[in-house]
Symmetry: C2
Subunit: 358 residues, 2 copies
C-alpha cells in the first residue's frame, strides 16, 4: 500500500522541536509504524503543478494524507489521474481542498480528524475578537517603536462586554466560541446556520438564531465565520453583504479565506466600514507576498489581526491530529468501522451535511 | 473650591473622538458642571518636577483628580505642600500613585471609581494570556513582513485548554479573569491571596487556593498578577521567585509594573525561562524609549505582548469612570456618604485592606 502525505516543511524548527509532528520532517510520526507493516510512505511539501511530488505520486497512491495548513488541492481532474486512490485523510478539520463531488463519484472516502483542533481554532477566534475590539496590534507596535501615546490607542479601543456577537455557523467550532464568550457578558449572542441547535443546547449559551443573513449581520458588533467552505459559502461575505454590517463592526474568519471576498473585505477595512478583520485563513495558501490582507489597515492605523494558517496546528493540536490520523489509517487497514463523526464522504456517498448537502 | 485634574493629553485624537473623556482636552466632562457651581477647574498633563502645573496647583487645590494611566505622583513631601487638599479621586482603579500613609496622617480622603474598569482590565488579561500562549505577535509580524513559515510559529504555539492558570490576587479583577477562563477548560485554576474567597464563590469557578507563593507559581503554566501595588507587593515577582516558575511559563501583569522586577523579568524572557510576558503597566509611565520591556524577546523571537497603559481606559471604561468621578465629587460637595467600595482612605484611616493593611 502506498501512502502519500503532503505536509508543510518544518526545516530547522522541526528538527529542534519533535512535537512539530505535522511537518515533512516528522511525518505525523507514521513512518516507523507504516514501514513495520510493509507499507510505502511518500512525504513531501511539493504540491503545485504537474511535475510536483503531489501530482506524480497521486497517480498510484492508495491513501492521501494532507493538512488544511498546506493543502494538496485534489481537483476533479486529479481524481481522474488517481487510479488507485481509496481514501483521503485530512490531518485536521476542513476538507474543502478535495473536490468532494468527484470523491463521491469515484467512491473515494474522505475523512477528517474531526475533534482534533476545534478547540484550538475556537481559542484563536476568541483571541482575535479580543485583540481587534481592544485595539491590541497598534498598541504593541507603538511600544516596539518607542512611542507612548495612550489616546491614540484608547480612541479606538472598546470592551467586549455588552457587545452583540454573532457566529455564522454554530457547529463544533462555532459553538465552542459561543461557550467561551458567555462569561464576557455580551449584550447578546446570535447565530446563523442552515440547521438549528437543539433548544437546550442553545439555551446553555443563551444564543438566538437569526434566519436571514443580512438581518443577522446588521445586528452584530462582532461577526465570526465558523462554517465550512463549499459552493454555498464561497464568497458569502461579499461587498453586498458587507453593506448590511453595522458601521465599525469587527469580522473574524478562521474558517476558510474564500468565504470572504478578499477585495471587498480590504476595501471595507480601509474605509472604516469594518473596524477590523482578523483570522488565519487565506484564499490562497501560502498567501502571496503582496496579498492585500497582509497590510490593510483601518483609517486609524489598526484593525489588522492576520496571521498565517496555524490556529489548528498548535503543538497540542498536532499531537491530537497525528494520533487521529493513525487511528483512521488503522481502521482502514484492519477494516474496522470509522468513527462516524470523522466521515465526510463514505463509500460513494456524503455522510456529512456540513459541506452544503441537504 | 479649586479642583486640579492631572490627565493624559489626547491631542488630535481627543478632538476627533469626544468619547475620549479622560483627556486634558475633554476633562472628564466636568468643566460645565463645576463652573456652573462656581468652582475652579485646572486641568493639565504637566506633572513632573517642582515647576510643573501639578506641583504648582497642588499647593492650594482642595480636590485632586488623576488617573493611573498618567498619574500625578503625590508623595509625602508633596502632601506637606498641599495645605488645602481634602480629597484625592482616582478616575479608574489603583491609587498607588498616592502615598496612602501620608494621606491618612494628613486626613486627606482617597477614593477610586472601583467598578469602572475592572472588566476592561480582566478582558485585557484574558486576551494577553491567549496571545502569549498561542504565539500571536510573531505570527502577525511574519504576515506584515511578507513571509509564511507555519512551522516557525507552530513550534511555540499552544492551546490554553488543559493548562494550569493561576492568579496572584482574586479580587475584583482577578476573579473576573477566573470567570472568563472557566470555559477554556483549564487543567486547574489556582489563586494566591492574603484572604480567602468564600467557599461558594471559589466553587463557582472551581479555583483552589495555594498558600505558599513559591509553591503556587511552581504549579502554574500561566501566572497573572491582579493585586494592588503596595509595600508588600513591590518587587514580588523577582529573580528569586522566578526561579520557582515552571520552565516555559507565561506571565501576564496588568496590575502595576513595579510588582515585577524589570530586569529579572527581561532576563527570564531572554533566557526562555519565561516563554513570554505581557501587560500594560510599567515601573515608570510613560515608559522611557529604551525600557527593556519594549523589545525583550524569548529565544524563538516571540513572547512580548507589551502595550502602553490603556487596558482600563477603553472608550467604554472612560464613560464609566468619568461618570463615577462626577458622582464622588457630587457626594463630596453635598456631604452625602460615599459608596463604601470606592473608599480607600476615609477621614484619617484606611477603609480598604487591599493596599496591604491587615
Amino acid at each position: 500500500m502506498k501512502v502519500l502525505a503532503i505536509l508543510y516543511r518544518g526545516a530547522k524548527a522541526a528538527v529542534a522541536e519533535p512535537r512539530l509532528l505535522g511537518t515533512v520532517e516528522n511525518q505525523l510520526g507514521l513512518r516507523p509504524w507504516l514501514q513495520s507493516l510493509g507499507h510505502e510512505l511518500i512525504v513531501s511539501d511539493d504540491k503545485e503543478g504537474p511535475s510536483s511530488d503531489f501530482q506524480k505520486h497521486i497517480a498510484d497512491a492508495e491513501v492521501l494524507v494532507t493538512t488544511p495548513f498546506h493543502p494538496g488541492y485534489l481537483t476533479a481532474d486529479l481524481f481522474e489521474k488517481a487510479k488507485n486512490l481509496k481514501i483521503c485523510i485530512t490531518a485536521g478539520v476542513g476538507s474543502d481542498h478535495i473536490d468532494l463531488n468527484a470523491a463521491v463519484k469515484k467512491s473515494v472516502q474522505v475523512l477528517e480528524v474531526s475533534g482534533s483542533n476545534v478547540t484550538s481554532v475556537a481559542e484563536h477566534v476568541v483571541m482575535s475578537i479580543l485583540l481587534l475590539v481592544r485595539n491590541f496590534v497598534p498598541a504593541h507596535e507603538m511600544i516596539e517603536r518607542g512611542d507612548w501615546q495612550v489616546s491614540d490607542i484608547a480612541r479606538n479601543a472598546f470592551d467586549l462586554e455588552n457587545k452583540v456577537i454573532g457566529t455564522i455557523g454554530a457547529g463544533r467550532i462555532g459553538y465552542r466560541v459561543l461557550q467561551r464568550l458567555v462569561p464576557f457578558d455580551p449584550k447578546e449572542l446570535l447565530y446563523y446556520d442552515y440547521t438549528s441547535l437543539p433548544d437546550a443546547v442553545a439555551k446553555a449559551v443563551n444564543v438566538r438564531k437569526v434566519d436571514d443573513l443580512k438581518e443577522f449581520v446588521s445586528q452584530c458588533d462582532v461577526v465570526t465565520v465558523n462554517c465550512p467552505l463549499h459552493e454555498g459559502t464561497q464568497g458569502l461575505v461579499n461587498s453586498d453583504l458587507l453593506q448590511h454590517f453595522k458601521k465599525g463592526a469587527w469580522l473574524v474568519n478562521t474558517a476558510r479565506g474564500a468565504i470572504c471576498d478578499k477585495d471587498a473585505v480590504a476595501q471595507a477595512v480601509k474605509s472604516g466600514h469594518l473596524r477590523g478583520y482578523a483570522g488565519d485563513v487565506w484564499n490562497v495558501q501560502p498567501a502571496p507576498k503582496d496579498h492585500v490582507w497582509r497590510t490593510m489597515k483601518n483609517p486609524l492605523g489598526g484593525g489588522n489581526g492576520m496571521v498565517p494558517h496555524y490556529s489548528g496546528t498548535t503543538l497540542d493540536a498536532q499531537a491530537r491530529y497525528a494520533s487521529g490520523t493513525r487511528s483512521i489509517l488503522e481502521n482502514y487497514i484492519t477494516g474496522k468501522a470509522q468513527d462516524p463523526q470523522n466521515v465526510i464522504v463514505g463509500k460513494g456517498k456524503y455522510e456529512s451535511k456540513a459541506y452544503g448537502q441537504r
